[in-house]
Amino acid sequence: MAAAWRIERSTAASRAALFAVALAFAALLALPARGDSGDLRLAVEICYSLALAQAWNLLAGYTGLVSVGQQAYVGLGGYAFFALTVLAGMPPLPSLALAGLVAAALALPTAFVVFRLHGAYFAIGTWVVAEVFRLLLAQMRPLGGGTGMSLPVAVVRDLAQSRGARDLITYYLGLGLGLGTVLLVFFWLRSRQGLALTAIRDSETAAASVGIDNRRTKFAVYAIAAGIAGLTGALAFLEKLRISPDAAFSVGDWTANVIFIVVIGGIGSIEGPILGTIVFFALRALLADYGAWYLITLGALAVAVMLLAPQGLWGVVARPLGLQFFPVQRRLRPLNSPQTAPEAASPGRGD
């Protein structure tokens, strides 16, 4: 039994997927040439929802940090952007980047407090923290207090003179955020730290026993997810041109929808949140005229998926086929007979 094995990472499906992703990306780059302003705004919303979903998946799907308080960082990012541009007079683009950093930086002391809670208590604790930030910002008069504020025309003009150019810039920023987050998660999971994340996902105790610093990894994931949420907030409220504490720290808009996306799509994979985002926006378009019934349907669907198919729709589709579009695992293949290949690492969670 010589070492006649090789480690396989990409598969035929993943190579095909890479091609498809490249094609889709090229099509998205060209979208502004065809779509109108409304299409572009919807595309930006889809992109940042995808970014939030990937970030939440990293938190809940990999490190078991089920946060119900990601709206804290969306709101902080949005308010940081308004503060930097309006109060400090900084140009919009650097402010946008800095807003993400501010959110990530504020996540570290917050993590110190909320990491004292575990499991479901951690979830509600993060929600309390988000409420604290909302109430604090409602007290800040220079930022409009409880009623919020609009982005002054001068700041908007600073981004670009014409409305068309502004739409284009926000669109490419959104595309960059969505795709950037997917790539970040992909390459992170393929790295050494990604192996640690997968290990923590499967068993925290076992991960610690082979020398993984669980706490440090969790801090890193929490801060990165906050940074992504912060960038999302800055971009979303740049597009909305108006911010208020209730909109910026809305649990429904920034966390509930994102949780539904990840749960319905499939938690603990990169493909799941992508599929979930598609399903979410398709359902929203379909049920747009039914008011509250839309959220009732979404909630019921998420509950049904959690109970009947905890791996999500992606798990239902991909698992029997062994499909993987984003290869983050390593498979051990014998060199001569590729048919009898055992799997080195399981693609699904918790088995």
Partner: protein, 288 residues
Amino acid sequence: MAWTNIILQGALLGGLYALFAAGLSLMFGVMRLVNIAHGDLIVLAAYCALMVVQATGVHPLLSLVAVVPLMFALGYALQRGLLNFTLGHEILPPLLVTFGLSVIIQNALLEGFSADSRRLQAGALETASLRLGDQLAIGWLPAIVFLAAAVIIALLEVLLYRTPLGRAFRATSDDADTAQLYGVGIRHVFALATALALAVASVAGVLLAIRTNFDPSIGPARLLYAFEAVIIGGLGSLWGTLAGGVILGVAQSVGGALDPGWDILAGHLAFLLVLVIRPRGLFPKLVD
């Protein structure tokens, strides 16, 4: 004297928070289930009371005769039909299913009753007060709420430590598998725990609806107050939960007196302070 008054009113408000929290605490204690929809179920009970009052014209307190059994039955069915299937070693299913439930209840109430603010009219009870001194008076209603909280918590303590059902609750809490070996039907015990939790929540909901305005969106905030009272008091201790509710109520009341915008914020900050100084709460009994 003004401060005595502020602290006293806050302490009485804490009784309501303890009532919010008792059900949450019971469910967590028996089956380690944190019910994110707890606040929305409290609001649902308030709407049930509203319907009873509108249909029969009885005093809101009397509507409890119908609302408590209704919520008890709903709790039993909810646990047996849905939540029992989420329990296991993974933390995600119960959390996400109750989260989904919370969104469903909120939007169903919105669909059924609109976003308008409602209130249960309790007549003279709303304004009647008891003079304790020149500048000190307590309202009958806050006093009744606090008394109800103390009595319900005392009854729950008796149930937990003096009855066969309480023994089954405690045995299941300690080790569900071993409890089953001794003939405890845990699915039934879990369902009874949730039924009892919702019965208490319905009392909380009706008293809340008499005290303040309510609409379909206020559930999550009640969940947060309940959660804070449980954590401040320490897991597993019902009297601790009452103390936690009082601390939260006093913090809100004092914060509100300093600056009207700071009442809720002061409560949250008091909770975070306890979390930093004593992560296990002030009077912990259970190990998570």
